[in-house]
Symmetry: C2
Subunit: 461 residues, 2 copies
Amino acid sequence: MKRIKIAAALTAETPLAGVLVKGWVRTKRDSKGFSFLELNDGSCLKNLQAVMDHTPEIVQTLESIGTGASVALTGDLVPSPGKGQKWELKATGLTLIGAADQEAFPLQKKRHTDEFLRTIAHLRPRTNKYGAMFRLRSELAFATHQFFRERGFFHVHTPILTGSDCEGAGEMFRVSNLDPAKCAGMSPAALAEADFFGKPAQLTVSGQLEAELLALALGDVYTFGPTFRAENSNTPKHCAEFWMIEPEMAFADLTDDMDLAEDLVKYCVRWALERCAEDVALFANFVDKDLMPTLEGVLAQPFVRLPYTEAVGILGKSGKAFEFPTSYGSDLQTEHERFLCEEHFRRPVIVFDYPKEIKAFYMRMNDDGRTVAAMDLLVPRIGELVGGSQREERLDVLERRVAELGLSREQYWWYLDTRRFGSVPHAGFGLGFERLLMLVTGVTNIRDVIPFPRTPRHLEF
Amino acid sequence: MKRIKIAAALTAETPLAGVLVKGWVRTKRDSKGFSFLELNDGSCLKNLQAVMDHTPEIVQTLESIGTGASVALTGDLVPSPGKGQKWELKATGLTLIGAADQEAFPLQKKRHTDEFLRTIAHLRPRTNKYGAMFRLRSELAFATHQFFRERGFFHVHTPILTGSDCEGAGEMFRVSNLDPAKCAGMSPAALAEADFFGKPAQLTVSGQLEAELLALALGDVYTFGPTFRAENSNTPKHCAEFWMIEPEMAFADLTDDMDLAEDLVKYCVRWALERCAEDVALFANFVDKDLMPTLEGVLAQPFVRLPYTEAVGILGKSGKAFEFPTSYGSDLQTEHERFLCEEHFRRPVIVFDYPKEIKAFYMRMNDDGRTVAAMDLLVPRIGELVGGSQREERLDVLERRVAELGLSREQYWWYLDTRRFGSVPHAGFGLGFERLLMLVTGVTNIRDVIPFPRTPRHLEF
């Protein structure tokens, strides 16, 4: 008998005789003469209800089955007389696959805190909430690939190990294959020489620079992979390891960039609402009562596009007592970002044309000589979801910026080289995938949207 | 005028008036009264041929245009009288976007060695061969996602930063945010305590252990991400950083695992032949004359399934003078793997049931007590493409193996825990994505199938 997954059983069009299902028991209820098992196999949120008459064999097997046990059931899929489900399994065969000690199993049927569930991240995917989360994560990853494919982008793999620092921010992890015990007393030069790559290596903070190289050959490309920050701070929005989506388009300017970011966010939100309604409903019901209006608000109208200077003006006139003051030249903080999209405009906002002093060296200088063609996409409850820019394609301007910021021309020779040979206007952005999931689920802590979060002093699992 | 990509122009169904194309000049030829430009924008292998009459403006612009320059062209897409193309562009407008110094530009029209092109990995995607390679890479990445989606697998993201060693092989990169200059004289314990995670951290060699945790909740899952080996060896098959596809199936055994691996490889080969014919043809014409028969051979019949013991027997009786002798208990070397599928069976071979001594602790012990339910999929020219196993789901057997191999029960507490609560038979494998690309293109060096390869002493770009 071929096994059928529960997602397929629950959406069957007709009754099915002689089916085999396997999964984990969520609850067991005994009545006089028969028992119910609620079975989940991870294929969907809903359980399959199995009803079985008490034969001597079944009664005996049921004794060793409790919440968390894995079982195989055979029987017929029949219309359910109960509420809330179309089908149930009239089971005649029950086999225990793996027991679960009821004293020790931590996921008994009760509400657990997110903090507790993080300490058992190996088991939390078996709960309704985290099962729904990781199915959604898979769906939105696929939606991302589909989005770019429909638009003729190529998926490229940029390196994780790098000798250069894309953002110039410095908060990078170092990578080495040397035994620290054997490095005492060695000079930095000797250490670098002895190391795997013959020079210092770090974990990338962004695949952008390499994605640019590929965009300047293949046209439109994107990366989707892990990136790293060694920031020793504990916030609900930061992990040391997170996944980032970074498109890069040749022959494109900042407007194209803003259009693409808006399209991608709307595409993913629509995908979640249309294709993952059951899992999204769990979050709307139990996590964030405002989730549906928030997501519908993302889709309802064009995002606001607001020059940075005007954003600072609005914040200054807002009358709000912000923790951080705003003035021209200061970066926007989460409180400012949230005010703009939650209170002032009540929808997503793209702020663009930032002062060059607060942005990276590769961003294209505007004609005013003071601002660069950068943009940040801000969304309700999260703030910055996307950061992007048109890149400086003019060799002389780029070399001047590299010199001004004290960066090494030698280190970036290959990057500069692309401006020497058939340089073209191009633009791209980075979208934090975990933040997209926070937007789509209403979950407020990044630790709860990634299976095994890495944060300061947390490397378990 | 909206830009059209060259892939779309070349597959147009009717002539198109008033089109705009942008791209990089591959060649320029001047005739009396008119000139030809071959334009490529990365969207496909083929160039668009543009023909333009010599107006004074065009003649002047042409002077500053050579191979590698980026240009914009406007005109009409018309039937081409020339051979080899259906359409050409009758151009009336020509704009230089970015020049390319003809003295300095390294990609003049001639054949370059792969070795030379590796030194300019930032420019090699602009060649026919590497453009085709990275488009194929993108296509096969998408094919992989599509394959698993059709079968109800969820895509999961397992961590890169880890405190445990999946394979127990030890060749791992260490990760730290400490300044080495400030670590002199610190004890290992003090170093670990001072470090970002409060304990030693490494780059993962496999997402399998974490993928198992997710499979034991969601059912069928897969990872597709970078993995790392700090092996200080220079071979054509090894990189320090490479991408791996790792499915993991709950309620599955070794036969299911072999079926899945065979299906995946065939699916990707078929995808390449059917959807990437033009790019594959480049490799069949210029890289490997046997490519098409090899790929058709992969699809032609079921893969051989061969117990390890029989494989050793065949090798012993082969009469071949292998560099490494084979006897029961020794691991197969590439020469043995290639002999089996290239000479003996002439098709892909899955070897299974290996001696426990040469395989990892998590593989399921067979009833003979000597072998484990492991399998390697071997393909022509490459050898091992896939390595997988059914996992040991029995807590007592697994704990015994952990003890036998001197591993730390405490370090793997979460892994063992899943065998305590609703354990189920499950299986999975790892497929090296770069090796799949080597199979599909006939390229023999892994450095030429990944955009920016990381190998000992090579960290450029």
